[in-house]
């Protein structure tokens, strides 16, 4: 059963899913397909938004909670996410991942790990120079790809994801079933390994 992992380099929730997803991929001995997907951002807190009504207040309270939730699980792994709401340039990494899926899919996971770490652990930019350096020998043809087929490839991932009900990342797609969030990894494993034993619930 195939597993596709849709990740957004600007999403801290995607970042926190990378390590456990890689562990699962290795444990299963089955290559996942890693895809760049720019879904809706988490509805994080906007501290300057006045509480004009219950809905606004709810969004603010929920946003504050989500920020704190990301931080507490990051801290449990010794990670400091920095300013979670900061603007992050994700396009170069998305393009490079898309390119690797065509050119050298075996390298996709390593690229994902390195690019996410660059942004979320080192708090640095994964800009064009950085992703080209990661592509190494596979950089040849990348620029041409960015100008020609990349937009369609990225759009295809997005269209396919939304067609099956995904809307934010990370998404684990098992067969055609989307699971949003790393909390689903136990059921992904259960499904891929033939539904042995009691299911995670």
């Amino acid at each position: 059963m195939s597993v596709r992992v849709l990740v957004d380099f600007g999403s801290p929730a995607s970042y926190l899913a990378i390590a456990p997803a890689c562990e699962l991929e290795i444990r299963l001995g089955q290559a996942f397909e890693w895809l760049p997907y720019k879904g809706a951002p988490l509805p994080l807190a906007r501290p300057d938004e006045p509480d004009t009504d219950r809905g606004t207040r709810h969004r603010r309270v929920r946003g504050q909670y989500l920020l704190a939730d990301l931080r507490r699980y990051a801290e449990a792994r010794g990670l400091d996410l920095g300013d979670i709401r900061r603007a992050i340039e994700t396009e170069p990494a998305m393009l490079a991942l898309s390119w690797l899926n065509r050119r050298a899919p075996d390298l996709a996971r390593g690229f994902v790990v390195r690019a996410f770490d660059r942004i979320w652990r080192e708090h640095a930019h994964a800009d064009g120079n950085f992703v080209v350096s990661l592509l190494g020998a596979h950089a040849k043809g990348f620029e041409e790809y960015c100008r020609t087929e990349a937009p369609q490839d990225l759009q295809r991932v997005r269209t396919d994801a939304e067609a099956i009900g995904a809307w934010t990342s990370p998404v684990f797609v098992v067969g055609d079933e989307p699971f949003i969030g790393r909390q689903h990894l136990p059921i992904v494993e259960w499904l891929v390994t033939g539904q042995q034993g009691p299911p995670p619930i």
């Binding site: 309270v61 929920r62 995904a166 809307w167 079933e177 790393r182 909390q183 990894l185």
Partner: protein, 229 residues
Amino acid sequence: MDPLRSDRPLIVYVDFKSPYAFIAVQPTYELAEQLRIPVEWRPLTLDIPSFAGSARLDRDDSVLESRRSESQWAWVKYAYRDARRYARLRGQTLRGTTKIWDTTLAGMGLEWAKRFGDDVVRRYIETTYERFWKRELDVEDVEVVEALLRECGADLAGFRESTQGSAREEYLACQLQIFDAGIFGVPGYVVDGEYFWGREHLPRIRWILEGRQGPSPDIAYQRVARLPA
């Protein structure tokens, strides 16, 4: 009532119209049984239209009326699909609701059930959820809620009065107090004064309740020891 404190080690906020709260009930009871701890169940009546819009469906699930954005629909559709697939794994029936129910009365019923002990509370929670999600329970009808409480072993003397007038106002004020404390979603768990939204936090909640031994676990829906026969 302090929304973040109880004389019990674990507070669980639920709303009967939440499919995620429904499928969290059994894993939560399993955790409590394994750790041999009492749980304080509290109602949190969600104001869903304020954050997810509203819609009304017919019995065949066709949309009759919608005040939802595209992104709200995407979230709601995924949430139901997600909750339904996990419910199915447990052998539970989860049919989408045809409207956004006012579960205030059912929440008051939960508070009332607590007067008669944990067994009554458990029967009330499990029976209400099971029937509501089979579309067999009108939780806005006081006579229906009364019948349910009676069936679960509660004495009804004084219940009707507790749903009206100043008692109702007090309940609603308490709901605002819960929201003011930052508790906005269900299932909501409070342990050691810390709030967690969603059953995926049960591994960490267990870790806290067991004294924070070893590394803190990540979020995950976990395998459980047993499934219903």
